[in-house]
Symmetry: C2
Subunit: 397 residues, 2 copies
């Protein structure tokens, strides 16, 4: 069955202006992904004439998004062209993360390099949003000043939050582990940069999409700190759901008559594989060292720790079997804090998938980004927005 | 977070030619959805100049896809324009359905009207694909001849099949209720029309998207004949999965240690809500009248029938709760043969959703299309392909 032609999805007509902006984006994406390269190489990859690409490139060089490296090294066939690279002094993305136990900020340039970073350990559980956002703003200012010292111009700030974020990308509807409900973080953060608020598991999945080993396309990204989230990526796009609440994987029923869950349901995945449930099953008390201690004990072969992680892996496998049967993703990626527990979770998890997935099962990949995913995803989401519509940062559009 | 500009998804550059073809599609879709209308009205809806739209319209009229109805009725303000309508004599879509107990074919014109129909009751369970496709071809020929008599030119044939279809849209990987495995139906059907093979639940969901009451956008469409399928529609597009196997909702685990399932798993939804399980629970034997008898008995308030449907509704509610928590769809639509059992399934189903969905639950809609969905979806998928790229049916592209 043919897919509709893409422009129909936008609802706006094709115009010369829209076409130019999309072609500017193609030039930026091509050189960012595969550069440095000559105008001729860019033209041939994109499928436009060299003259058309040259006009676009000139505009991007003038705006400081691309730079010319000078003639390509001699010895190549043909007339030497000047190689083009994405500027390391242009617009940059600022990412921030509000965690239960920490705050972090990083600045990433258009080449994808982290150019500044600031972090602070702080117990945010139960703190009001006002002091937390004030602390975060101080970190943002520090990181931005460092980046500006390196010639960068931050184009926006994306903040990763451990909770449900409304589709307005500003309101934290519910962050149970911070005890925040219905707060507009953009209003609280203020500041000079445009701010976007996003669920941390979503940003972890986007980081995997943009930076990870997973083949781009369709995958399910499961991550957990205190809660368990899953993000579904389809055709390289994150599925957000009608109200932005997609990914509540921790509340997939595993045993419908199991223990009651904070959500009002019974036997949700979180009751078997959430951090608290697993630590309890492993006999590790509150404040006793958490996931680090659990990993240590499992590594030492302690049977309670190994059994607790095996039980969590089984429950995750049951919930994932339903997900894989429903969505048939290309792959499943284990990210976030979970990824370091993978050696003990995976065998039981894969056993359940093997038993329960109607069609030949696929393996589980473990994210290389681990707990860094959400912060990197936040900064890169700003960078991607610049690559997707470069004219927006320099033209009055 | 900004979405990438849409053209980037295609991987192909914007060209004048591509732009023209997309604008032809806009004209067709606009007039098909809201026509008849004048050139001026079409131009204003699409956001192009009247001159640009007139050129596109002239091309579509010459090709026989649009026709002029003559001057609009007098009394309107301004100079009267000729109203344009989608042609009732142009290209048409042929849809076919291979069911366990029947074969059906229909022909739909560009206006969405069914113009020919042929049907045959036949027990296909266990029959080889060769005689089944031969019977189907005979029905297709009959319906096509009737449509051609009405001035239509069939542009393609889409066949709905109750089984897993590979992404090549020709191979039936597994249709357990027909006992077909790995058969290339396009090769078997042959014929003059381009053939597309598609899973029936997918086509039922597409029919709902195109013709149903569900607001277009994001929904989960659950349907069942013998098996239970669910199709996920995101941003108006059907999610097919990596291998085309998405939607195996019947194999979502409901009670992980429940009865064994044919898929190799345990306690799958199909063991509680599949047709055989429900009939068994209601005390209705094989060959005793099936779903019709069940509906009759439930309607008469017979307690075994009511309890069986209540149990099925509960199991569906558990499986759907996981799905809704994961995907946050705008709505859930009950389609297929199930839709007539909705009065007895829904109360228990909605109770489970209410208990288990982390965010305020939403209602369940019952499809008006019912068992007609897959056949209509098949024919309309051909019509949509014409509207999506009208030039493809008349130009040598």
């Amino acid at each position: 069955m043919s897919e509709p032609l893409p422009a129909r999805r936008t609802g706006t007509p094709d115009t010369q202006q829209g076409m130019r902006r999309r072609n500017l984006s193609r030039v930026m994406h091509t050189i960012a992904a595969d550069g440095p390269m000559s105008r001729a190489a860019a033209a041939s990859r994109i499928g436009l004439t060299r003259a058309a690409v040259s006009t676009l490139v000139d505009e991007l060089v003038r705006a400081g998004l691309l730079r010319e490296l000078g003639p390509e090294r001699p010895g190549r066939v043909g007339r030497p062209g000047s190689a083009l690279a994405v500027s390391e002094r242009g617009p940059a993305g600022v990412g921030a993360e509000i965690g239960v136990d920490h705050l972090a900020v990083c600045v990433v340039d258009l080449r994808g390099e982290v150019r500044a970073r600031a972090e602070r350990r702080v117990r945010n559980r139960g703190r009001a949003p006002e002091p937390v956002t004030a602390d975060l703003n101080a970190l943002v200012r520090r990181a931005v000043a460092e980046a500006e010292g390196g010639g960068l111009r931050p184009a926006g700030l994306t903040v990763a939050v451990p909770g449900l974020v409304a589709r307005d990308n500003r309101t934290v509807v519910r962050a149970p582990n911070l005890d925040w409900h219905g707060r507009d973080l953009v209003a609280l953060l203020g500041g000079a940069l445009p701010v976007t608020v996003e669920n941390e598991a979503n940003l972890g999945a986007l980081a995997e999409l943009w930076l990870g080993d997973a083949e781009p396309g369709d995958f399910v990204h499961v991550s957990a700190e205190i809660g368990i989230g899953a993000a579904v990526v389809v055709d390289g796009r994150l599925l957000r759901g009608e109200r932005g609440f997609a990914g509540e994987f921790g509340h997939v029923p595993v045993h419908p008559e199991g223990p009651p869950c904070g959500c009002g349901g019974h036997g949700c995945l979180e009751q078997y594989a959430g951090e608290e449930a697993v630590l309890r099953a492993a006999g590790i008390g509150r404040g006793e060292g958490g996931v680090e201690l659990l990993a240590e004990r499992a590594g030492a072969g302690e049977s309670a720790a190994v059994a607790a992680l095996r039980g969590a892996g089984t429950a995750m496998g049951v919930a994932l079997a339903g997900t894989v049967n429903l969505l048939d993703p290309r792959s499943v990626v284990l990210g976030g804090a979970l990824s370091r527990l993978a050696p003990w979770l995976l065998p039981a998890l894969e056993e359940e998938l093997e038993r329960r997935v109607a069609s030949p099962a696929r393996g589980i990949e473990v994210s290389r980004l681990g707990p860094e995913g959400p912060l990197l995803g936040a900064a890169h989401s700003v960078v991607r927005a610049v690559l997707d519509d470069p004219a927006a940062v320099y033209a009055d559009v």
